[in-house]
Symmetry: C2
DNA sequence: ACAAAGTAGTCAGACACTCTGACCATATTG
DNA sequence: CAATATGGTCAGAGTGTCTGACTACTTTGT
């Protein structure tokens, strides 16, 4: 994939990896350690009101077994808890615990910081164009948009 | 990370994952199976004239031990070969074999296809703006630009 | 109403990837 | 030429990932 004219997807990867690394590192520094990258990725998909394991698995594009394993680790580390789904006796909802919400808030701070830095570097106009193009592209690239 | 206003890095991830998945799947279909995603990612970093293990590891952001393991798998599957580095007796250059070059060519076809589809979807102007912004951003996000 | 099919989740087992730490061989530097 | 740095390997442990088989509950079609 690496060429003299790097393809667009690879350019996206570079930006994504930078942000992910930085957010992850800041989390560890802030005391949210015992958290691995795969766990954090899954955790990021947990919605406000709670999310089913299967939905989590779909969103993160892993099998439900893998999602189950990661949720177990997250639960053990105190980031999520599982509650019965009132709408379906088979299902359990995974939702963020108090500690989980703290972690999410910490992550969001760094996300905004990166966003601001990028805007400063590119200028408001280019940043808006970037987000517009990426958002449009999402319609044809995200199966769970 | 998932919010009502998804952050830019996450949008990048969506596009990247789509492209990677599609390229990888097409490779498998084309008979380049026995190739895993981590192996393919490393392989994509192998340069024309050969690349040292350490450089490969840096580029892919894994340890040299991990890179060594992946290269061994790639070698066993016939995608790369290792030759002595004339400039340094400690080092060995990893370079694509004939089969490896075939695989690379196949990947490039799909890459171009995706690029073309995105251009068609966004229009030439938006696609150019996207690439421009991503390329600029790379300067502040890629330690190995 | 109820049998058939589908969906949510778990358990077990195997394999791949990744890391840390310790080490050897060759290069580079003071 | 001794000290330090760099390229790479070996060993061992932990984590993540998958496939396959299973249980329990829900939905659907008659």
């Amino acid at each position: 994939m690496a060429d003299d004219e790097p393809n667009t997807a690879l350019l996206m990867f570079v930006g994504y990896r930078y942000a992910e690394d930085r957010i992850f590192r800041s989390m560890v520094e802030a005391g949210f350690d015992e958290l691995t990258l795969p766990q954090a990725r899954l955790f990021a998909r947990v919605q406000e009101g709670g999310t089913r394991l299967t939905d989590l698995a779909d969103a993160a594009q892993v099998t439900k077994q893998t999602a189950g394993y990661l949720v177990e680790q997250l639960e053990r580390a105190g980031y999520v808890e599982r509650v019965a789904d009132p709408a379906d006796a088979r299902a359990r909802l995974v939702r963020a615990s108090a500690r989980g919400e703290e972690a999410r808030a910490a992550a969001r701070v760094v996300e905004r910081q990166i966003e601001d830095e990028w805007t400063a570097y590119l200028g408001v106009r280019r940043m808006r164009a970037l987000r517009e193009a990426l958002t449009l592209l999402r319609e044809v690239t995200d199966p769970f948009a």
